[in-house]
Symmetry: C2
Subunit: 214 residues, 2 copies
């Protein structure tokens, strides 16, 4: 099987999938979309993902998978090792809840299309930045006690999980939007841990083919 | 085991869980929160769910589950019959992707706290309504071809799935916010189907203890 990931270097949803693919040791080709130029809305990409969002994972045979968390669940089912979900239904519930705090309660409010919409509604750049930072803070306030309770080096337990696939990109986004991370020491510790992990390093925005030096 | 669901009659995230519990035939007590009054932010509820969001499912023994999709996955693992996910990793990927289009790309932009935030940013009621309707339309545009492709009476296949647990509440919300559903006949057909199903009827907002006659 030959996989192609449609991605954008700084976008957090494809970043999650890159981490999952790297943790599983699954090779993939990288197809870059420039979200600032709006390439995700061009006809070529609409044929890949009619929703005009990243990521999309083409797994061959005309099959394209969308929605980062659903792609990670599919990866977990089809490439079980190393496991990205723990044993036990309650443990899996906690990991998925942590991932969903990021995937539902933080990121959807802060992605490119929402910023564009707020701009069209007359909100200025300072207002959009405050909006973005506020949802990150609320979400991290919710996550911090969970990471402190369940984490043993990673967000849950002592191995990377789907929660880390979501958390590390969200910390990257928080840094990008100048959120002071000092209120969340447990989250910061996981982020530090990830900096030394080859899969997280390989998936980092700066190491993507479409990265733009800042 | 004795379950208690923290819910609000019109909120779509607890509505998803009510459908799942009813489909599985799992009994539960109902604890109502008045989101307009802000009861989800009061101290008593913060002890249940520090994130101050609905739903939360207390399953006894001091264990409280949060995040609707993670609760539904937990229900599926602990109460496998009737199945709310199909056989086959690709089929499950599609069902989860449909659920996530609603849970990530529509609902988080339209819930109570976001409306409150937009109001504080000076957006008037007409602007908030247009915002809400716009995200529903974008999401339904993405869902319609998937339901048309995969649905055989329900959103995916011929039995209710986690996708329907998300879709039916989102259609309810679309009606509440005066979105004309005529562009999405496949979605409308599933909604019609659900009106005749006892589990969906029992989970409907109008049939909750805290329903307010409109």
């Amino acid at each position: 099987m030959s996989f192609t990931l449609y991605s954008a270097w700084r976008a957090t949803a494809p970043y999650r999938v890159r981490i999952g693919l790297r943790l599983k040791g699954v090779d993939y080709a990288y197809s870059a979309l420039d979200l600032i130029k709006g390439e995700q809305r061009e006809r070529d990409y609409q044929a890949v993902n009619p929703q005009k969002l990243t990521p999309a994972l083409d797994i061959g045979g005309g099959r394209v998978l969308t929605q980062s968390l659903s792609i990670l669940e599919w990866l977990e089912e089809t490439h079980p090792e190393p496991a990205l979900l723990p044993q036990g239904a309650l443990a899996r519930q906690a990991v998925r809840a942590m991932a969903l705090i990021i995937a539902c309660d933080i990121h959807p409010l802060n992605n490119t299309r929402v910023g564009r919409k707020l701009h069209h509604m007359g909100i200025d750049q300072a207002g959009i930045l405050e909006w973005t930072q506020g949802w990150i803070r609320d979400g991290f306030d919710a996550l911090e006690p969970l990471v402190a309770r369940y984490g043993q080096g990673w967000a849950f337990g002592d191995t990377p999980s789907i929660a880390d696939c979501c958390l590390i990109p969200q910390v990257y986004s928080a840094n990008r939007y100048q959120v002071d991370l000092s209120p969340w020491p447990a989250i910061r510790a996981v982020d530090e841990r990830a900096k030394d992990h080859p899969a997280f390093q390989a998936a980092h925005p700066n190491n993507q083919p479409d990265a733009v030096p800042l």
